[in-house]
C-alpha cells in the first residue's frame, strides 16, 4: 500500500500568539514550530498500517526550507521518504493544489492528513484534495482500518458516528483517538538523516483568499469571585446578571 501523509508546520501549542506591529503577519520571534498535532495521528496511523500490511509512507509538506527539521522528525518517526514543495502555504486552495498535483503523478492508495492545522484552522485541505482528484474524502476519521482494497473508517459527525466502507484510493482526515502518536527514537533519528527528502517547486500560485489583518480577542475585564460558602449565589448571578441560564 502506498500512503501519502500531508503534514504542516505549526507553532507549538503553548505559544502565546502575537503579530507584527502592522498586524499583517504572525510574529515568529522565539516561536518553536512542531508537526501539527492532528497530522501526528495521520502519520502514526500510516506507519502502523505499513508495519502491519507492508507498503510505503511518504510525507509531504508545502513549506519553505525552515520546515525541514519537522520533515526529518516525521522521517524519524517512521516515514520512508519525504517531499517538500518549496513555497509558503498561502491558503488552503494553494496547498491543496500542490498536494493534488503530486498525488496525480504518484497514484497513492491512501492520502492521510490531520483534520485541520492548529494555526489556520481551515478544515478544508482534505476535501479540496479529494475533489481535485475525484475521489472520496472521509472527514474527520477517528478510526481507520484497511483490508485489501477496502478502507473502513469511523467518522465523527455532530451527535454520533458513521461507519463507512470505501474502496481505495481515498482521502481521510485524522483526529484522535485514531492512534497513540509516536515520538522518534534514537535509531529513527539516525536513519532519518539519510532518508530521501525531495524538494520540488510549486505549480502555479493561485489562491482564493487573502489575509488582510490579524487581531487578538478582547481581554476579559476581570473575574468576579464568589465565596465557596455562598456558592449558590453564583446561580443567581448567572440568571439575573449574566442572563445565561
Amino acid at each position: 500500500m502506498k500512503i501519502l501523509v500531508c503534514i504542516s508546520n505549526v507553532p507549538d501549542t503553548t505559544t502565546k500568539i502575537t503579530f507584527t506591529p502592522d498586524n499583517k503577519q504572525f510574529n515568529t520571534a522565539g516561536v518553536q514550530f512542531v508537526i501539527n498535532p492532528y497530522d501526528e495521528y495521520a502519520l502514526t496511523r500510516a506507519i502502523e498500517l505499513k508495519e502491519a500490511q507492508g507498503g510505503t509512507v511518504t510525507v509531504l509538506n508545502v513549506g519553505e526550507a525552515d520546515t525541514e527539521a519537522n520533515i526529518r522528525k516525521a522521517l524519524a518517526i517512521g516515514a520512508d521518504d519525504a517531499i517538500r514543495v518549496n513555497a509558503k502555504p498561502t491558503d488552503a486552495f494553494f496547498v491543496a493544489t500542490q498536494i493534488a498535483n503530486i498525488a496525480k503523478q504518484e497514484n497513492y492508495d491512501l492520502i492521510l492528513m490531520g483534520k485541520e492545522s492548529v494555526d489556520y484552522n481551515g478544515f478544508q485541505v482534505h476535501g479540496m484534495v479529494a475533489e481535485m482528484l475525484g475521489i472520496p474524502s472521509i472527514t474527520p476519521g477517528v478510526k481507520l482500518d484497511v483490508n485489501g482494497n477496502t478502507a473502513t473508517v469511523q467518522r465523527e459527525i455532530e451527535g454520533g458516528h458513521e461507519i463507512i466502507d470505501a474502496q481505495l484510493p481515498i482521502v481521510v482526515s485524522a483526529q484522535q483517538p485514531m492512534c497513540e502518536p509516536r515520538i522518534p527514537n534514537m535509531r529513527g533519528i539516525m536513519t532519518a538523516r539519510t532518508k530521501p527528502l525531495k524538494v520540488v517547486e510549486p505549480t502555479g500560485s493561485a489562491t482564493k483568499t487573502e489575509i488582510d489583518a490579524f487581531s487578538l480577542p478582547p481581554q476579559k475585564t476581570g473575574v468576579k469571585m464568589i465565596s465557596p460558602e455562598n456558592a449558590g449565589e453564583l446561580i443567581t448571578l448567572l440568571r439575573n446578571e449574566a442572563k445565561v441560564i
Partner: protein, 322 residues
C-alpha cells in the same frame, strides 16, 4: 442571484446551528440587496421547513430522496452544487460543523469559490471587496480575510448570531439532482447515534470536568449540574486520554471547540491548549481549589474551593430555578 443557505437536519428538526446559518444568510442577503434561499436534504418534513421563514428564508429547495436521510458526502455536494447553479448563488452559507467542512471543502473546488470556515461575524461588503472575520490559532486570534473569487462559501461558527424570529413562512419546492452510484461510493453503512444527551457542539450551556475530579466515579457532579441547567457535558484532554470520559467530550485545541453562552469548568487548570477550545464562550465560570489556577484569568465568575463541596451547592441552587 439569491444567497443559498445549507440546512442540516437531525431527527426531523432543523439543527440549531442551521437556524443560525439561516439567520446569517438572510442578513447577508439584505446586505447584498437580494433574498435568501435554503437547500434542505434528508430527514425533515415540509412543515418544519416552512418555519425557516422566521429566520428570513423566503424559499426552501427540498430534496427528500430517501437514500439521503443520512449524510452522504458526495451526493449532498452534488445536490447543493446543483441548487447553487439553479439559484445562481454567489454566496453560500454553511454551519461550521464536521458536515459543513465535508461539504464546503469539496464545493469550493467544484464551484471555484473562495471558502472561509470558522467565521465569527457578518461580512463587510463594499464594492468588490468581501471580507470576513474568522477564528485562527485555535481560538487565540482572529483573521480578517478577503474572499477574492466571484463566488464565496462561508461556514458560520456557532453563536455568531442570534437566531431570528420574524413573522412569515418560507415556500417549499421539491428539488433533486441526478445522482449516480458513484455519488454513494463512500456512503455510511451504519450510523451510531449518540442518544439522550444534549449534543456538545450544539449546546448553549456546557459543564466541563478536569483531572481535579479525581476519577470517573465522581462524574455525577458534572452530570447532575448539567442536568439541572439543561447543559451538555465536556471534559479536558487528560480525562479523555485515561478513558474517564469518551473522546467526543474532549474540548480544546486538539478536541472540540465550543462557543456556548455559558461554560462551567470544574477542576480544570486552564492550560493554554484547553483555553483555546473554550475561550469564545460568552460567559466562563471556573471552580478550582487553587487560587493561582490560570483559568481564573480567562473567567467571568470564579469560586476558589473544593469541587466536592461547591458543586453540590450549585446543583441544589440550580434545581431551585425550576
Amino acid at each position: 442571484m439569491s444567497v443559498l443557505v445549507v440546512i442540516e437536519c437531525a431527527n426531523g428538526e432543523v439543527k440549531k446551528s442551521s437556524l443560525e446559518a439561516a439567520t446569517y444568510g438572510s442578513k447577508v442577503a439584505q446586505q447584498m440587496g437580494t433574498t435568501a434561499t435554503a437547500i434542505a436534504i434528508g430527514d425533515i418534513s415540509e412543515e418544519n421547513l416552512k418555519h425557516l421563514g422566521a429566520q428570513g428564508i423566503k424559499k426552501v429547495l427540498f430534496d427528500n430522496d430517501a437514500r439521503l436521510k443520512n449524510f452522504v458526502n458526495l451526493a449532498y455536494v452534488k445536490v447543493i452544487a446543483a441548487a447553487a447553479q439553479k439559484e445562481d448563488s454567489k454566496v453560500i452559507i454553511l454551519s461550521n460543523t464536521n458536515i459543513g467542512a465535508a461539504i464546503g471543502s469539496r464545493l469550493a473546488v467544484r464551484l471555484e469559490a473562495s471558502l472561509a470556515t470558522n467565521v465569527v461575524a457578518l461580512p463587510e461588503i463594499s464594492g468588490s471587496t468581501f471580507k470576513v472575520k474568522r477564528g485562527v490559532y485555535s481560538g487565540k486570534a482572529f483573521a480578517e480575510v478577503n474572499l477574492t473569487s466571484d463566488r464565496k462559501i462561508i461556514a458560520v461558527k456557532k453563536n455568531t448570531i442570534e437566531v431570528g424570529h420574524e413573522a412569515g413562512e418560507a415556500s417549499v419546492e421539491n428539488f433533486s439532482a441526478s445522482l449516480t452510484d458513484a455519488d454513494f461510493a463512500a456512503a455510511p453503512k451504519e450510523v451510531i447515534q449518540q442518544t439522550g444527551d444534549i449534543l456538545l457542539p450544539e449546546a448553549d450551556i456546557v459543564v466541563s470536568g478536569g483531572r481535579g475530579l479525581k476519577g470517573p466515579e465522581n462524574w455525577h457532579l458534572v452530570e447532575d449540574l448539567a442536568k439541572a441547567l439543561g447543559a451538555a457535558t465536556a471534559c479536558s484532554k487528560p480525562v479523555a486520554d485515561v478513558d474517564w470520559r469518551p473522546h467526543h467530550e474532549h474540548v480544546g485545541q486538539t478536541g472540540i471547540t465550543v462557543s456556548p453562552n455559558l461554560y462551567i469548568a470544574i477542576g480544570i487548570s486552564g492550560a493554554i491548549q484547553h483555553l483555546a477550545g473554550v475561550n469564545s464562550s460568552k460567559v466562563i465560570v471556573v471552580i478550582n481549589k487553587d487560587p493561582e489556577a490560570p483559568f481564573f484569568k480567562a473567567a467571568d465568575y470564579g469560586i476558589v474551593g473544593d469541587a466536592f463541596e461547591v458543586v453540590p451547592k450549585l446543583i441544589e441552587a440550580a434545581k431551585q430555578l425550576h
